[in-house]
């Protein structure tokens, strides 16, 4: 047999067909991906999807129960809850991804370098991580927001900074194990550079717990956004966000408790979606779990 004939047999599936296989295999994962896409779709197309303006007040219709005109009722200033929820989606999803994105951007390289290089680099980085971890998260975020200025982006960047030591510590611990693996030594014998070792060998094998942690952090970030907006450091009124809506509804809890259901439910569904998707992603990226 010629190599050419055999070469034909060694044909990799296209990315598209791999995705199709994944959808068939992982029903729960593809369902949560769908939910996430819907949420993102709503966030992006909010101005066209929402029936009313999210900030238009109508004092003749305050704290109304759900009706045909206002599917989810109105809030304390007579604004349509559904419209605010739809417009709030973009803020909340943006906030969650921004915070986790920043955490990854800082945490992954820092943790990788600390774990892989070891020595005094590791000592310095680990002490900084310990210091950051000893602060209460929200207090640190408040302090960082205070220094950088109020606003959703600044608030979530500071949440990201608060999250980053968790990511860094996690990936550092895995890196310490992976860097001793024989396949890293084997690659070294072929002349691989440190960058290549980190990108091709260490990161793919050390990132797994970070993916799971990220999905948990996305959910925590949603809640952090709510807390910071509640404290007046995040989304500024009258702009809606889920956390802000929840905080506002809290004030009318005794008069109109149903105000809290919609934003609360959306936060919960989104957080759950992130978690399920994270688990699916972890399985999908692990070749040893194929077919499970």
């Amino acid at each position: 047999m010629t190599t050419h004939a055999l070469d034909m047999a060694v044909k990799e599936d296209s990315l598209f067909s791999k995705f199709g296989q994944w959808c068939r295999r992982d029903k729960r994962g593809s369902a949560s991906l769908l939910v996430l896409l819907v949420i993102i779709g709503i966030a992006v197309f909010a101005p066209w999807v929402a029936p009313y303006s999210p900030t238009e007040q109508d004092y003749s219709k305050m704290l109304m129960e759900p009706s045909a005109a206002h599917w989810l009722g109105t809030d304390d200033l007579g604004r349509d809850v559904l419209s605010r929820l739809i417009h709030g989606a973009s803020k909340s999803v943006y906030a969650a991804f921004l915070a986790v994105g920043i955490a990854l951007l800082i945490g992954v390289p820092v943790g990788l370098l600390a774990g892989f290089l070891g020595g005094w680099v590791d000592v310095c980085i680990s002490r900084v991580i310990d210091t950051l971890l000893s602060f209460p998260a929200i207090v640190l975020a408040v302090a960082v927001t205070g220094a950088m200025g109020i606003g959703l982006t600044n608030a979530m960047v500071s949440v990201g900074i608060v999250f980053s030591p968790h990511i860094a510590r996690l990936i550092r611990a895995r890196t310490l194990v992976v860097r001793e693996e024989l396949y890293v030594d084997a690659a070294r014998c072929f002349g691989a550079s440190t960058t290549r070792l980190l990108v091709r060998h260490v990161t793919p094998n050390a990132i797994q717990p970070v993916i799971v942690q990220c999905t948990l952090l996305l959910a925590v970030a949603l809640l952090a956004e709510a807390s910071l907006s509640f404290l007046g450091l995040g989304v500024q009124p009258p702009e809606p966000s889920w956390g802000q809506m929840l905080a506002r509804a809290y004030m009318y809890m005794e008069i109109s408790p149903e105000q809290m259901y919609a934003p609360g439910l959306m936060i919960m569904v989104t957080a759950l979606t992130f978690n399920t998707l994270g688990e699916s992603l972890r399985v999908a990226l692990d070749p040893t779990m194929k077919g499970l």
Binding site: D7, Y183, A187, F190
Partner: protein
């Protein structure tokens, strides 16, 4: 290497020269583990040098140093005539691909997240050889040469058997056309049934490609089977080095004699009666090795001299060296 240089003097050309190699690992509290402490030997082009010794003798440490995975604390390592410590990073990168290692654990040596094909093309990517398509061809050809079907190229390591994985490690080394391969306990982790075929593969490749091997093992039968010369290590030192037949049939060093007599293989009973040496105790700690001769604490022939003087690395018989004050050419001690 050009073909012109592979002339009749090939046998005398040293592919690796190690002089007074020392590899120490610092411990907390200022102590050091002297894993390898002053070892010298040459490996000639085309030969197989066996290195034997028990656990903790430093044989694997030597193997890892030979391919640059450990930096020598002292001494020199030369590839051909080149002292590798004098090379620039890019020169070293180009040279080191000629010096490869196959590890004991075939599974751990493959990245679990990469397909076999990805693992096989990586060395060529690192070295910047060929195009995407040519690398793929070379990889598949190497896979076939190592006795595997190319269909497995898209699998992941966990889907394959130990023997298959070891063949893949061999194939991966072959993709960059090395001259020298360290085989570090390459069959120890494999089923007995596949050991023979892997050893035969190594032998075939040597014949076909003119490879040079350093075969590190604790298994004397493997060494006897594959190597022309054998070195015996104990506690970071080379105790004896000579032609395999000579070392196995007429060991000169008391440690080698003990090691061979411990091998549970059928040997002529007269030999067993005469030469049976039982070693007392454990191998001492490499943190604080014995003074003088390192073997003296377990040697039945040890004297006061062994405590105070480090034995010379003497060539007692032609091409047969030994580090013992009392070794004689006929194998008697004293």
């Amino acid at each position: 290497m050009s073909t012109a240089s592979q002339s009749s003097v090939e046998d005398d050309r040293n592919i690796v020269t190690v002089e007074n190699l020392k590899i120490h690992f610092p411990l907390k509290g200022g102590q050091t583990v002297k894993a390898v402490d002053g070892v010298s030997f040459q490996i000639r082009a085309g030969e197989t040098l066996g290195i034997i010794g028990e656990s903790g003798s430093g044989k694997s440490t030597v193997g890892r140093a030979l391919v640059g995975l450990l930096k020598p604390t002292g001494g020199t390592l030369r590839y051909g005539d080149t002292d590798i410590s004098a090379l620039s990073a890019s020169e070293y990168k180009r040279l080191r691909k000629n010096y490869q290692i196959i590890f004991q654990d075939p599974h751990a040596a493959l990245n679990p997240r990469m397909t076999i094909l990805q693992s096989l093309v990586e060395p060529m990517e690192i070295q910047g050889e060929g195009t995407r398509e040519s690398r793929r061809k070379t990889a598949l050809a190497a896979l076939e040469r190592a006795g595997l079907a190319t269909e497995i190229a898209l699998r992941h390591p966990h889907e394959l058997s130990g023997g298959q994985k070891q063949r893949i490690n061999i194939a991966r080394a072959l993709t960059v056309h090395p001259q020298f391969i360290v085989c570090d306990e390459v069959v120890a982790a494999l089923d007995v049934s596949v050991r023979g075929s892997i050893l035969n593969l190594f032998a075939d490749l040597q014949e076909e490609l003119g490879l040079t091997y350093a075969f590190i093992t604790h298994d004397i039968s493997v060494v006897a089977h594959v190597s022309q010369r054998v070195g015996v290590m104990y506690l970071g030192n080379m105790m004896e080095l000579g032609p395999t037949d000579a070392v196995i049939e007429n060991p000169l060093h008391p440690y080698t004699q003990a090691l061979l007599s411990a091998e549970p293989r059928p040997v002529p009973s007269d030999m067993r009666e005469d030469r049976r040496i039982r070693l007392e105790g454990e191998i001492p700690s490499p943190v604080a090795p014995p003074s003088g001769c390192r073997f003296r604490t377990r040697c039945p022939f040890a004297t006061e001299k062994c405590k105070t003087e480090v034995p010379q690395w003497r060539e007692i018989v032609r091409n047969h060296r030994v580090a013992c004050h009392y070794a004689t050419p006929d194998g008697r001690i004293g």
